[in-house]
Amino acid sequence: MKISLNWLKEYIDLSDITTEEISDKLTAAGLEIEEIIDQRKVFQNFVVGYVKEKQQHPNADKLSLCKVTDGQNIYNVICGAPNVDAGQKIPLAKIGATIPENNFKISKAKIRGEVSEGMICSERELGISDNHAGIMVLNENVKVGNSLSDELGLDDVIFDINVTPNRSDALSHIGIARDLSAIFNKPLKIPEIKLKESERDINELASVEILNSHDCPRYFAKVVTDVKIKESPEWLKKKLFNIGLRPINNIVDITNFVLYETGQPLHAFDLDLLTDKKIIVRNEKSKIKFTTLDNKEREIIITDLMICDGKRPVAIAGVMGGQNSEVTNNTKNVLIESAHFNSSAIRKTSKRLGLSTDASYRFERTVDPNIPPYAAERAAQLMIELADGKVVKGLIDIYPEKIQPKKVSLRFNRVTRILGFEIPKESVLLILKNLQFSILKSDDSKIEVQIPTFRPDIEREIDLIEEIVRIYGYDRIPPVQKISITLEERIYQDTFNDRLRDILVSLGFFEIFSNSMQKEENANKFGKAINVLNPKSYEMASIRTSLIPGMLMTIKKNLNVQEKNLRFFEIGQIFNRGKDGEIKDFSDFIEESKLLLGITGKATESEWYEKDRQFDFYDLKESVEQTFEFLFQGVQFVDLYHKEGNNFFEYYFEREFKGNKVGIGGKIRQDVLEYFNITQDVFVFDVNLDILKQIQLSNKRYNELLKYPKVVRDFALIIDKKIDNSDVMKFIFKNSINILKNIKLFDIFESVSLGKDVKSLAYQLEFWDNEKTLTEEEVDKYFWDIIEKTKNEFNAKLRGE
């Protein structure tokens, strides 16, 4: 919200306080200043210039060459506006100036071969109005060479304030001035109203009826007759323009002015356009179409509160007026609406229509229910002054149940207990008084405070404590530089994942974070997607059901930049629907914690000591095995191999622990890769961390080191190509005695000389006995026995036989 410093000064004396101080203190008190626009700084290099000569630009029909002086020097300025002429006083942007409209910085430039040393500006370029019909021609009595901000009174400072949703009271100049009054302990001056009313009685001219007093607890109206619609005076236009509003006409501008002065939204109806001169606040009985004054047709439903006349709706309550009753140039008589609406009702309508206005923004944050009379009368008074109107006698105020101020007690020792610091009682009382809270009762230990109705956010003792400390200043509370630690158990739920990350990094993987929000199509390809009810784009319409699409998209993005050799991992949550229909409970969906490994491209690049090599299935397997070894050394997992593949994998393997699947992965199928536009092989492994985390490691015990030598024997089998290594190994282990401790496949070999459909598998066996040294003869006996059995089992031959 934009607030003008000059405007603020009408309610509080800030003459001895710097802009910076105001900004710092407001920010500290919770009204964060996001931007300060100091017009003097904005117009630093703008002066009143005088056009001495004007000539046609030799190379451009629509441009003129002007000689402009600032009283000292003469500048060549090229101007494109048709209305520029010699003898005019004009706003001149000199070299170094920045044009407010578009932040264009003026420098010496050549335009179609001619030098230009400045710019003659329009009002819009100066950011002081919407007028861009031509350059701004200044008044005769301004002095050439003077700064533009002095001559035009462009000396305001505009604060852009981020008002938090609890502070509906601060959405106006008086509201901000009230906080400043408490911060600087200076009195607040509220403009007094003295209305001279005409003889006619309001009840002869208009009537109001509320049919839904829940959503409209109060409707206050004043009537002004014989108004003359015209442009507002300069001071009012400037005020509105400076805070970002477009001046329209005097009546509309007055309602906007009062809104930004008091925070109460007003609406001015053309009284003569109200059927039966009647206002009825009610809901429609069925859906209707209604055209608002921005000329848009909107659908109104039965829960939307409407302001109606004797036969039809004339405004969406608290949101926007209707085209059928708006003030026009022909308007003579005006009904000023100054009502109080239920915040939740206005919010629902505003949200549903996607229509947020200055009025709805305030009503949905709750406006003071007791300000409407002041705001309406203030507007009426200004209509006398600025529109030659006549205010008719009396008022209409339908307010069946008056909203009373709340009372809250405050214990001084509670303030100290919460803050850990004592604020003197006098300061507490002064702050509350300056914020216009009244002290009803007080004793040494506590006070009872009456909360003004413009502060609906203050309901409890703790709210008062915040009021006191935010004005007193958080910076005045000393930080306690000690920490008392209760020695209860520390729990670190993140340890497992942290360890996992360390392991994967040590194995050469790069961690990625991909977007959990995805296209519905991608999410449904890999699971049963949960969709977002209110997606902002279709790219983020579903929640991921798997980490795989994110991985493949990441790989694709890297391939696009010629990065082809990739090892990635991601740790994250995935979400799948448990059943169809609306999600009403945690049991309706499954959230799982996952790890995904992904590798593609080359495992090793060409080096002086080795050749390059592509990643394959066995690289993936090794990474999985290493990771599990680091996490669970000695724990037995069972791997199941699937050569036939499934929907995602050309071939894959699954890893189980005690019958539970902990992971699955392999080579991604070609059609899946094509879907993601990937043209090289990708291998991924998907691990369920929820199950993995539950695996308990038994306490590690030291194993005595071997005292007796190992005996090693090698042999190679020529065996049917289609027999798996794992089957051979399993058989050997099953059929040997316990001195065989290790078996390793160290060579695989296929060649024509071996024969068709066979391969050579070379194994190394390690034998030892924990109790004694084995003799060569002993080992040889077992060794040859194993070989014989294996040969028979697999119908194999011993190589070299």
Partner: protein, 332 residues
């Protein structure tokens, strides 16, 4: 016998360096490695040994066989490519053999820094689900239904009552419901905002929230804790300010800014975290008596800190996972 082995090794070394032709190479192979060669004889002798030192001798002999075989193979390779053994030249400037390197994402690295500081201050670490109930994410945290406070956080709703959590605060609710005070924990995790992607905002980010509930907690202590945190992260001389703010779940609430100066740029206040005393309504919602217990809470965005620290001006870079970006943060 050990002497014999040693001598064999020395002899082999001398002979292999002096040889001139591949014929001589074959002679050496037969002499040392052949079926009836020196090593084979040594193994025969070894088998007949009985003494205590048999294992040691066996080991030495095995190693000698490996060494001789390796050297022989090396020289054999060289001969194949026409180099003599005496031409051996060691180029120490060749690059070392590569092993793989990887890295943790800078989001993780930044998160780790934050976690370590709070672990040092005695905080536990808790996690919770990302798909949450409206109750845990909003209602229990004192966000009234249909209140503009809800607009502060654009939400991905998946049903009327379920949503992608907009902050890690629901973990506070879960923790306070599960355990009795005293409580001291931080809750790191992913949170979601239904916003269009831009350089400044992403639809998800990581947050760390902290919660402390005990009988004698004060705002001054909260301030002390956060000042200590800021000093550990941004240096002892960090300039900071606490300013009033609004969060439905804390009262009083504040935001903390630090003064940030980058070379060649004007200094400015930068918000690094939000904090406050746990609102009594929140304590009541989880069955903790607000007269007896007081709590404080704070929260910060991890991505923001990472962007600041490394001078990154587009948050989307963090989620693009371009390997050229990730490789810049192998060491930080």
């Amino acid at each position: 016998m050990l002497e014999q082995i040693k001598k064999t090794l020395t002899d082999f070394d001398t002979e292999i360096l002096e040889l001139n032709s591949s014929d001589e190479l074959e002679t050496i192979r037969i002499k040392y490695l052949g079926r009836k060669g020196i090593l084979s004889q040594l193994f025969d002798d070894f088998r007949k040994l009985t003494g205590n030192d048999k294992p040691i001798i066996g080991k030495t002999l095995n190693q000698a066989k490996i060494d001789i075989t390796n050297k022989f193979n090396q020289v054999f390779e060289k001969f194949k490519s026409g180099t003599k053994a005496s031409d051996f030249y060691i180029d120490l400037s060749l690059p070392g053999r590569k092993s793989l390197v990887g890295s943790k994402h800078i989001i993780t690295q930044t998160l780790d820094e934050v976690k370590n500081i709070f672990k040092g201050l005695g905080f536990s670490i808790y996690e919770g689900p990302e798909l949450e109930s409206d109750y845990n994410n909003f209602e229990a945290l004192n966000f009234p239904d249909d209140h503009p406070a809800r607009d502060m956080q654009d939400t991905f709703f998946v049903s009327e009552k379920f949503l992608m959590r907009t902050h890690t605060s629901p973990v506070q609710i879960r923790l306070m419901k599960e355990k009795k005070p005293p409580l001291r924990a931080i809750m790191p995790g992913k949170v979601y905002r239904n916003e269009a992607l831009s350089a400044k905002s992403y639809c998800l980010f990581h947050q760390v929230e902290g919660l402390l509930v005990d009988t004698d907690v004060t705002f001054a202590e909260l301030k002390g804790t956060l000042v200590s945190f800021a000093q550990q992260l941004y240096g002892k001389d960090v300039k900071y300010r606490f300013r009033a703010s609004f969060f439905p779940f804390t009262e009083p609430s504040a935001e903390v800014d630090i003064w940030w100066e980058q070379q060649g740029k004007e200094g400015r206040w930068l918000e690094i975290l939000g904090c406050g005393m746990v609102d009594p309504n929140v304590l009541l919602n989880v069955g903790i008596d607000p007269e007896k217990y007081i709590g404080y809470a704070f929260g910060m965005g991890v991505e923001r800190m990472a962007l600041l620290k490394y001078g990154i001006d587009d948050i989307r870079l963090l989620f693009d996972n371009d390997i050229r970006f990730l490789k810049q943060f192998i060491s930080v």
